[in-house]
Symmetry: C2
Subunit: 313 residues, 2 copies
């Protein structure tokens, strides 16, 4: 079968680090073009300044991967759907839930596919944790997601601006794993959000979840912090009612079951994302799960606000 | 047909002012009992302290109306569905979108009906505005929703607590009208939220909407303020691309079309809510629209935070 001719829109860090090399290595896809406002390019592939120029110049394009910062994604995705292209969205799929809802409706009407990716879900250890938790009752969930924003987002001011999500930018990765592996739907019962005095988005957050279908005494919590220097922590611990203790370490790449090593695999998140995208395209199916973004919205809706010192790079 | 035997849970202001008299006047319903933690009662009707006592004592109960403050609603609704009752929810249906999602799933599994009411929608002038806007493009939307919190929520501290919505408690009424009459889905592009220094919820908010399907130059905005003394303002103005100007005044009860009086009817919101509930029960249909709550969540997600003086009753 001929490879799917696709384009990457937005050549920032995630496109350079993941999308472009992964697409280059996947024979199911062919990079037909890239779009970069700043005019960045990829050898051997045409660069366009705007999506409109792309669609006019490459009519046999099948799909686009939208890798711009979140606030621009919805308009770009809308334009792509209107041009008849299938759309893969970096996470989070949009800045608001209403945008995702509207995009889903447009994709349905246009009979185009939408894939809202959550890269952290695409680890073998996450799939194994999901399998192990199926049908079990969860007594305790503890998420610790603590990293150094200066290392991972150097100079990216948009993370502090309204709609930039702040510490929920990494935190939503943890939530995308939690919503993938926990069998029952969660809501946020309490949230404490800590805002730098010069920021519209939080630098730290602690959440207490409720599970409408779990035991009332369950303790379900998450702690996100963007001020962690030294060792970085991306851990999810889950204790089930039957006494099993699962721990996912290093962002979902390593599973430990009752203290014994379980599945441990190198992160091949984006390789799996594009493999899944090829399956979706072949099957004519969309994959849009708003649950992680909905939990972030919950946290903002019920959040207590705390102030902390101004943040400077 | 025998009337539906229903109970009201939570005998606060809205139950006393609206639900109880409206149920009493509707021959399609029979008030079988009330539930009040504080032991408030209604003459001739048994009072229970907890829903569990109600369900044990009144097995032929068909449905409940949940009129408690929002933070308790989801657990009460869940318990009612588990007891096999249909559930009518005061607005907003829950504190978080994940709760509504989970409740909807439970109702589906239990084959019980859920009616998430938005009382402001149940005005003839709103229905007429919806009819007039069908198929039209909107060029300008301006919502002014300004009232005196001391008058409408005297001493209700929960409105200032996390999850209490603040000025979005009335603002969501405006949003429930907007989402009912505007033909295309909206999202919140920008929000400015003003928080009293001693409150977790905003006392004022201005929103700029985007419409994914409207013209880019459309100006769509809302201004909510809880500090308005003297005359109260609940107005929605809409200008369409073909030059029609609609204005809904007094919270959706009076429509003005191009300056000329249109439909004007006394507010019979709760009468219409219960008439619709009887239709839903007869037809076996749920009615759950999260769009107004989703816009509030959008506003919190993209909101810029501003501080103002502490609020005291």
């Amino acid at each position: 079968m001929a490879p799917y001719r696709i384009a990457v829109i937005g050549l920032g860090k995630i496109a350079q680090d993941q999308h472009l090399p992964v697409i280059a290595a996947n024979p199911g896809f062919e990079l037909a073009a890239v779009v970069s406002q700043r005019g960045l390019g990829v050898p051997g592939v045409p660069t366009f300044r705007t999506p409109a120029e792309l669609y006019a110049a490459v009519p046999d394009l099948v799909a686009v991967s939208v890798c711009t910062p979140p606030d621009a994604r919805t308009a770009i995705a809308r334009e792509a759907l209107d041009a008849g292209k299938h759309v893969l969205l970096e996470k989070p799929p949009a800045t608001t839930l209403s945008e995702v809802e509207a995009l889903t409706a447009v994709a349905g009407r246009r009979q185009r596919l939408l894939f809202a990716t959550w890269h952290s879900r695409f680890n073998p250890a996450v799939a194994e944790a999901r399998r192990l938790l199926e049908g079990r009752t969860i007594r305790r969930l503890d998420v610790q997601w603590k990293e150094d924003v200066r290392h991972w987002h150097p100079g990216q001011d948009w993370v502090w601006q309204a709609g930039g999500f702040g510490v929920f930018d990494p935190g939503i990765n943890a939530l995308s794993i939690v919503t993938e592996i926990v069998p029952s739907p969660l809501s946020v019962a309490k949230a404490d959000l800590t805002f730098p005095s010069n920021s519209d988005t939080p630098i730290a957050a602690t959440l207490a979840f409720t599970c409408l279908e779990g035991p009332e005494e369950a303790s379900l919590s998450a702690s996100f912090d963007w001020r962690q220097e030294g060792e970085q922590t991306w851990t999810i611990e889950i204790e089930t009612a039957d006494g099993t203790l699962l721990a996912l370490h290093e962002g979902g790449t390593r599973l430990v079951i009752n203290g014994e090593p379980g599945v441990s695999a190198p992160s091949e998140e984006y390789q799996r994302i594009y493999a899944h995208w090829a399956e979706l395209l072949a099957a004519g199916r969309s994959d849009v799960d708003v649950a992680p973004l909905r939990l972030v919205a919950d946290a903002f809706l019920v959040g207590r606000r705390h102030d902390t010192a101004a943040f400077h790079w």
